[in-house]
Symmetry: C2
Subunit: 375 residues, 2 copies
């Protein structure tokens, strides 16, 4: 199936420089949508891995060859390489819209403007909020962007045709466009991604510093709250160093705002100022509820169902709920230990909870209903 | 079934003061194990709710009546009420072992020693690491303690018979005993519970402070990392005020240790000191992996399976894995939005991943394998 015979595909041909997780996943997703795609990577091993996927993507040895006469060019390379890659493409494809996928936008926009000169009007910065713990073409997934937010950061001189071409690319791979100016993007990811990463790391580090009897106690006593709060501390440090280095001013500002608020909390704890603590905890509780997606804001209840440790238990329980026509909105395990599987926690809409409970009871489970923990 | 006819039940009769979530759940759990239980609560409505459960628990109007000649006495009341409740019980039941379930141990131990005088040898502090977002007897669950850690904090004068009686109680309801001295307990819960709560609240509060365009951007861009890290910020502020007030010195120390480490991170970010950041992130990543239960340390992989938005999808997918004889070790949803259900993430042991993938493929799903996020 070629782009010419697929009227539903509004973009193409697309040239992608970089066959890592994002570049290769984008290539596969575009091919699934019937768009012509040419990809290159400076690493012959990556090109070979891409070719081995045999997905109808054209692999070229040079970037110039991939970019020639493309309608849309994507630099799926590290931030520091974006300006040079886009400048070469701008020359090889004089009409193409140009974009990148770097996780920091304002510094990249400055460097790209310098590299492109008058062609900067064809550039729209981009950042797909999707990823995986794995990297490289072998981890590529054509569904990586489905339902994800893809931030676009047009500047003052961005041409409408460029923004509309890149926006079409985003929608073709199933993502949702969110337009932000570049500094707002950088401030936002500092607050909701980079700061939480550093805070989670510090929490895990401080807990691990407990010496003597406390060390083992920390391991035995740490519950779901600690596990949730520190989960991302287990991330690969190397990945985060690049991210933090690229967004230093915004990360520093987020750290300063956090430290200032934490100092207020510390003062309130030291002084036993329950009024101040109540104000913070109340604000934070309301904020957390406001910041989760609206779809999760419908009144929910959790149904806690004891599990036996054998394959198929979760399926049996979930199937009982499904047969009752009830969607499972979120789910997790509680109290899992080496000796005991604990319980399955199913979050369902409150107005469907009774149906789910009846179905579970009929199936021999004893669900325990608990209130909406985000309410 | 009475205690007399149940040789497996090593405790009883047990007297419980307080019919809230913990007291009522403990009563139900003990009755399930065949132990004689007498419960009272100063609130007639709570007593009526307990009686309505009709679980074979004896409800008394007075604490003296409940405690009379008990073998084991549990004060399931707020920390400030524990000393008086135990002093009354010590008089009414001259041979009983005495315990409580307060979330802070060192200050309670001091007050109990003052109230009990020479009878303090019969007291063992306790803290079951189990709970629920709900409270009161209607939320009571006989399985609440299954697989949970139950901390006991004997002092220097604690009699062996008291420790062994309270330890038997813990095991009868399916929990695991962890013996700590009281200050270690308080330091530990400050680090793994109270500090993470305050940090999560500050994170949510700072993110919500973003004004103008950032506010909506925060909502659109916040991903699983932010959601995990701030989840407990949605807790009920009133519950946390009591907890924090009871453990003020240990919480203040944990806050100070956290702030000091965070200041080092802030300095490193500001100076672009990648060596210092790499050291912190590496330490934290290793610490997080060490602090999660060993049972979760087996090599795992995540299988990401796209979901359609209709009831039964999760069950269908989980059933395919179960039919292959593969346990689901953890599970969650990814990329869920108002418009899209996203993907189901199934964590399975690495040595079972191929079987699970084959089963999912046979069922028509296209699982994407990603590496162990905690490895």
């Amino acid at each position: 199936m070629s782009a010419a015979t697929t009227p539903a595909a509004p973009v193409g041909p697309v040239a992608i420089c970089g066959g890592g997780l994002i570049g290769a996943s984008l290539a596969l997703a575009l091919r699934s949508a019937g768009t012509a795609v040419r990809v290159t990577d400076r690493d012959p091993a990556v090109r070979a891995a891409l070719a081995a996927r045999d997905a109808g993507v054209t692999i070229t040895a040079s970037w110039e060859e991939a970019a020639a006469d493309a309608a849309l060019v994507v630099a799926a390379v590290p931030p520091s390489a974006v300006p040079e890659v886009l400048a070469e493409a701008a020359a090889a494809a004089p009409a193409a819209a140009l974009t990148d996928v770097a996780g920091v936008k304002a510094p990249v926009a400055v460097a790209v403007a310098r590299a492109l000169g008058p062609a900067v009007g064809r550039y729209v910065g981009g950042h797909p909020m999707a990823g995986s713990e794995r990297s490289g073409p072998d981890a590529a997934d054509p569904g990586l962007f489905t339902g994800a937010t893809w931030v676009l950061t047009p500047g003052e001189g961005t041409e409408d045709t460029a923004l509309s071409a890149v926006g079409a690319l985003v929608r073709v791979v199933g993502a949702r466009v969110l337009v932000l100016d570049a500094p707002t993007h950088d401030t936002t990811v500092a607050l909701v991604s980079h700061l939480p990463q550093l805070v989670a790391s510090v929490l895990a580090d401080v807990a691990a510093d407990a010496v003597g009897p406390e060390r083992d106690a920390v391991m035995a006593v740490a519950g779901p709250g600690f596990r949730d709060t520190t989960r991302i501390a287990a991330s690969d440090p190397a990945l985060w160093l690049d991210v933090l280095a690229g967004n230093r001013p915004a990360v520093a500002a987020a750290l300063a705002a956090f430290a200032e608020r934490l100092a207020e909390v510390t003062t309130a704890v030291g002084a036993g100022d329950d009024g101040a603590l109540a104000a913070l905890l109340g604000r934070a509780s309301a904020a957390r509820r406001r910041l989760v997606p609206k779809a999760l804001d419908a009144p929910m209840v959790d149904l806690v169902v004891p599990l036996r440790d054998r394959p198929g238990e979760i399926a049996r329980i979930a199937a009982a709920v499904g047969r009752a026509g009830v969607n499972i909105e979120d789910l997790g395990l509680r109290h899992a230990t080496a000796a005991d599987r604990g319980s399955l926690v199913l979050r369902v809409r409150a107005d469907a909870a009774e149906r789910a409970e009846a179905a579970l009871a009929a199936d021999g489970s004893r669900p325990q209903r608990v209130g909406d923990p985000t309410a």
